[in-house]
């Protein structure tokens, strides 16, 4: 009896601690005046409108979304053929590339960010917006790689062989059997990568921080140079987006299984 209540208390405490900072930020975001106070004085949703009205924030939002859309697509484009190759073939180069694909995510992000900084600076391309998309794609390629590796491994090879005995050559098999079965994993890989790219700071900062402001960069600059509740509003917006995306994956996909594989990669 006591054990059950202790357990509930424990989980409640964790839930509160996890939610508290976001809750406070949400409270701050509806403050009527441009000050950092909680509980809020007055109530105004105006700061949420500012995200779209203020050109600085709007451009940052567009930049963040554009980079997220592009980098996630590129990440999936890199991860898919690699995951396919490792499922279809037994070759050492596949294993090496798999390791390379998992590396950027396992290492402290500063290192990857610094690596990209050195690279783009040396190539003379420092500061151009598309370099952020490429950098994010490589940094986040681990995510679709893991989900796709899981997806491929869940294909019953006898299904593929059955298709072969029915007259499907390799290309037809990929098109009619493998792609439909692997599609959910492509989607979840893209979604994970998208959410993380949206929120990513250090790589974006080091690579294009002085020329392009993404939302996290703008929040950081605002922290240093001038507080505005719009920061809080956009924080709530991004957190909510992440929660919605993951909730969708949770509803339509098999989240525990995806995460079982994710941790197993380590």
């Amino acid at each position: 009896m006591i054990a059950r209540w202790a357990k509930r208390l424990f989980f409640l405490a964790v839930a509160l601690t996890l939610a508290m900072p976001i809750a406070v930020v949400a409270g701050v975001s509806v403050n009527e005046r441009k000050t950092l106070t909680f509980p809020p004085h007055g109530f105004s949703l105006g700061w949420y409108g500012q995200i779209f009205a203020d050109p600085g924030w709007r451009n940052a939002l567009i930049a963040s979304v554009a980079i997220a859309v592009a980098s996630s697509a590129l990440a999936v484009l890199i991860a898919f053929p690699l995951a396919w190759f490792n499922w279809r073939r037994d070759a050492w180069i596949g294993r090496v590339l798999q390791g390379l694909g998992l590396a950027p995510f396992i290492l402290p992000p500063v290192i990857t960010a610094l690596g990209f900084l050195s690279f783009w600076a040396t190539a003379g391309l420092y500061g151009q917006a598309w370099t952020a998309a490429v950098s994010h794609a490589i940094f986040l390629v681990t995510l679709p790689l893991v989900t796709l590796t899981l997806g491929f491994s869940s294909i019953d090879r006898q299904i593929v062989e059955a298709a072969e005995t029915m007259g499907a050559d390799e290309r037809t098999v990929v098109r009619t059997v493998i792609l439909p079965l692997v599609l959910p994993y492509i989607v979840s890989g893209y979604a994970f990568s998208f959410v993380l790219s949206l929120n990513e700071y250090i790589v974006a900062y080091m690579v294009v921080g002085f020329t392009v402001e993404t939302v996290p960069i703008k929040i950081f600059n605002a922290l240093r140079y001038g507080y505005t509740p719009t920061m809080a509003a956009v924080t709530v917006l991004f957190t909510a987006t992440a929660a919605v995306v993951f909730a969708l994956i949770g509803m339509f996909g098999d989240l525990p299984r995806l995460l079982g594989a994710w941790a197993g990669r380590d």
């Binding site: 054990a3 424990f10 989980f11 964790v14 996890l18 900072p21 406070v24 930020v25 409270g27 701050v28 000050t35 950092l36 909680f38 053929p81 690699l82 190759f85 499922w87 279809r88 037994d90 070759a91 180069i93 596949g94 590339l97 390379l100 950027p104 396992i106 290492l107 402290p108 992000p109 500063v110 290192i111 610094l114 690596g115 990209f116 900084l117 050195s118 690279f119 490429v134 794609a137 490589i138 390629v141 949206l198 700071y201 080091m206 996290p216 960069i217 950081f220 924080t235 991004f238 957190t239 992440a242 929660a243 949770g250 989240l255 525990p256 079982g260 594989a261 941790a263 197993g264 380590d266």
Partner: protein
């Protein structure tokens, strides 16, 4: 379609694009960074191609030593706290009905996705004088007036534990969910209370997984580049903060690169160790 060895050059075709992308955009940047770590720093924020060990030599300074020592201690503390709370948490989580599990996982993932900027901002708000907990306590009359809880070591520690906790749970999730529930049930029928069964049976069974998780969270915590800055004072800066600082504000890329190489070596060997432990657990 069996998993066969590639036989012709055409069989390698699928892997051409990923190989090129990873080689050019991961391998090369890495190589350049290693090279830069040996370059000579020139005043004014540039560096000259050279081969000097001066950058690595700065490791031997007291300053660097103290930053390194602090970083390692802080990361270790974060790892231990996270795993201490996270292990019973994850264990209980995996025994929950599926819907609750998914709900919690969604929440944890959402927090994991947050950038360090946002976490730093949120916690600095929570610990501030005007908008934080103490303000709330003052408003309800528990204390006389609010005060700021940051910057401080406690603030940094709290922020980093907050950041690493979802990661800890996710890493533990797989091995813990693979635990055979009949072990604990057998213990219960033999008279052990759930708490005792947890400490006497579950923890020893998960020993390797727990160790591997501590190591991985350690590496994760080493990667915090903003929280020590936002929530702490300069004496609380960690290696990652120093790297960022040297690279951007001090424009000393070679030194930053040298420290980064050092950090890579530590991280890779630790991750390798954790992988070995995890493999032994699985067999």
């Amino acid at each position: 379609m069996k998993r066969e060895k590639p036989r012709s050059a055409a069989d390698y075709l699928p892997v051409a694009f990923p190989a090129a992308m990873l080689a050019v955009f991961f391998g090369v940047p890495f190589g350049i960074m290693v090279a830069i770590s040996f370059f000579r720093r020139v005043q004014g924020g540039f560096y000259e191609p050279d081969f000097v060990l001066a950058n690595y030599g700065r490791f031997l300074s007291v300053f660097f030593g103290s930053v390194l020592g602090f970083s390692l201690e802080l990361a270790a503390l974060v790892a231990v706290i996270c795993v201490a709370i996270g292990t019973p948490f994850t264990y209980l989580l995996t025994r929950m009905p599926r819907r609750w599990q998914i709900g919690w996982l969604v929440g944890l993932l959402a927090i994991l996705a947050l950038s360090e900027v946002i976490i730093g901002f949120a916690w600095s708000t929570l610990l501030s004088r005007t908008a934080g907990i103490t303000n709330l306590l003052a408003a309800v009359g528990l204390v006389r007036e609010a005060w700021s809880l940051s910057p401080s070591f406690g603030a940094v520690l709290t922020g980093m534990v907050y950041q690493a906790f979802p990661y800890t749970v996710l890493v533990l999730f797989a091995p813990v969910s693979r635990l055979d529930p009949s072990i604990v049930e057998a213990a219960r029928t033999l008279g052990a209370s759930p708490v005792r069964a947890f400490f006497n049976l579950v923890i020893p069974t998960l020993r390797n997984a727990i160790l591997a998780t501590i190591i991985l969270v350690f590496v994760f915590a080493l990667g915090s580049y903003l929280l020590p800055q936002l929530l702490g004072r300069p004496q609380h800066w960690t290696l990652s903060v120093l790297i960022t600082d040297q690279a951007i504000y001090q424009s000393n890329l070679p030194f930053a690169a040298a420290m980064a190489v050092f950090l890579v070596l530590i991280s890779l060997s630790l991750v390798g160790l954790a992988t070995l432990l995890a493999r032994r657990e699985a067999t």
